[in-house]
């Protein structure tokens, strides 16, 4: 595999961005900032009261459902990206009909979820 300048540029920009915009400010802050040790300093903010229990609690499974919905959609939309660069050169009518079928099936999924009542944000989604 040949190395293109784009790869070099991405790596250089990433490393320099990490050093100059992320690590150097922290080091400078470490040098310049005062350091106080107080008992309550490191307490997580919860309106001034001592935090009640851990923040790492469980979430409703509904959120997982929306994530799946997104994943299905995003992957389907990504299929359109390679098609889009070639569309102008393609046999237009046949390509259009194929894409029409693809997009209608994609859109049918939104209609399906709509009818299922997913977008009324119920507490529990019935499958």
């Amino acid at each position: 595999m040949s190395v293109s300048w784009l790869h070099v540029a991405i790596i250089v920009f990433f490393i320099q961005g990490l050093i100059l915009f992320a690590i150097v400010p922290f080091l400078l802050s470490r040098l310049l900032a005062h350091r106080v040790k107080a008992h309550e300093l490191k307490m997580p903010f919860e309106c001034g009261m001592p935090p009640h229990g851990s923040a790492w609690m469980r979430f409703g499974i509904n959120y997982y459902f929306y994530a799946l919905l997104f994943l299905a959609f995003d992957v389907d939309v990504l299929y359109l990206f390679p098609v889009s660069t070639y569309y102008i050169d393609a046999n237009q009518l046949v390509a259009f009909i194929k894409l029409l079928i693809f997009l209608l099936i994609l859109f049918a999924s939104v209609v399906f979820f709509w009818k299922k009542g997913v977008f009324t944000w119920p507490r529990k989604i019935k499958m």
Partner: protein, 325 residues
């Protein structure tokens, strides 16, 4: 694809571009903080920052220095590695993205034919950073803010992609330079007139992806204190803010390149036209922020699923039909 054995002229270009991009990001951060506060002041019939320098122009520098002097510490119970990684992950991709943006006819770090994909891919990393930051800081407000941010960014990613697609079907390229130079110099030759619906959807999605008002629920002050960065102080907080403003600039650069003709203008095309367009878009974003009230969360997601995605799909279909018939 060039051979690395020859004189590395491209390497020189990369390093000069790197210096330019870093200066651009830093200056934009300072300028946008000032503009945001000053315009907020004028809209609310105050003067805004006024004391530091003439008309308060040095206020962002003072803010930055103050944040530099603040103590940085890890909250009790937080996951230290993830906690410190989050602001770094947030700011670094913002630098990388500027590789592909054509600022002017000869002002682009690398003219690449995957420019748009590169930008869409790297800006997606920001969601991960906010997720890590909110999760690792062991704070309930931060966790709620992060959860909201993920739901929002994930939902608005789809209309964003769907509204970019018509332009790519029209031009047949991901090369941002080609997209910009494919449009004419005059406003009626820009793609905004070919694709007004896509432009509106794209603009709203950029607002939502960068967590700007009226979509700033992840950091809604009135309910979540400060959202995902509640427990971040000093420089970490500053990095999150610099990243947010950088992503605003990147979004405006994308809109200007794809829909508004990029660096082309009626007289004397060049980088100044590009910067003028970007700054007009940024000012509109700031204006929107101080004008519209915040949405409720189910409204936010319903606008995306019930309006934006169907309209974007129909727009794409109409575009395809027009191209092929």
């Amino acid at each position: 694809m060039m051979d690395l054995i020859f004189f590395p002229w491209q390497l020189f270009v990369i390093f000069v571009g790197l210096a330019g991009v870093m200066a651009f990001v830093g200056l934009n951060g300072l300028l946008l903080v000032y503009l945001d506060r000053k315009i907020a002041g004028f809209i609310q019939r105050r003067v805004g920052p006024y004391e530091v320098g003439p008309q308060g122009i040095l206020q962002p520098v003072a803010d930055g220095l103050k944040l530099l002097g603040k103590q940085i510490f890890t909250p009790k119970g937080a996951d230290p590695a993830l906690y410190w990684l989050a602001p770094m992950i947030s700011i670094t991709p913002a630098i990388v993205v500027f590789i592909a943006i054509p600022f002017g006819p000869n002002l682009q770090v690398i003219n690449t034919n995957v420019g748009l994909i590169l930008i869409l891919a790297f800006t997606g990393i920001n969601v991960l950073a906010l997720c890590l930051g909110g999760w690792a800081s062991q704070n309930k407000y931060a966790l709620l803010g992060a959860a909201r941010d993920i739901a929002q960014s994930v939902a608005y990613e789809i209309p964003l992609l769907l509204s970019v697609l018509p332009i790519i079907f029209l031009t047949g390229t991901f090369n941002l330079f080609d997209i910009a130079s494919g449009q004419g110099a005059w406003p009626w030759q820009w793609y905004i007139l070919h694709q007004p619906v896509a432009f509106l959807i794209f603009f709203v999605c950029i607002l939502a992806e960068t967590n700007r008002s009226p979509f700033d629920l992840p950091e809604g002050e009135s309910e979540l204190t400060a959202g995902f960065h509640t427990d971040y102080s000093g420089m970490a907080f500053a990095l999150f803010f610099l990243a947010e403003y950088s992503y605003m600039v990147i979004g405006s650069c994308l809109i200007a390149t794809i829909f508004l003709g990029g660096f082309q203008g009626p007289i004397a095309s060049g980088a100044w036209w590009f910067l003028a367009k970007v700054y007009i878009l940024l000012l509109i974003m700031i204006w929107i922020r101080w004008t519209f009230p915040r949405l409720r969360f189910d409204q936010l997601l319903n606008i995306c699923w019930k309006w934006m995605i169907p309209i974007a799909v129909v727009n794409l279909l109409v575009t395809l039909a027009v191209i092929s018939l």
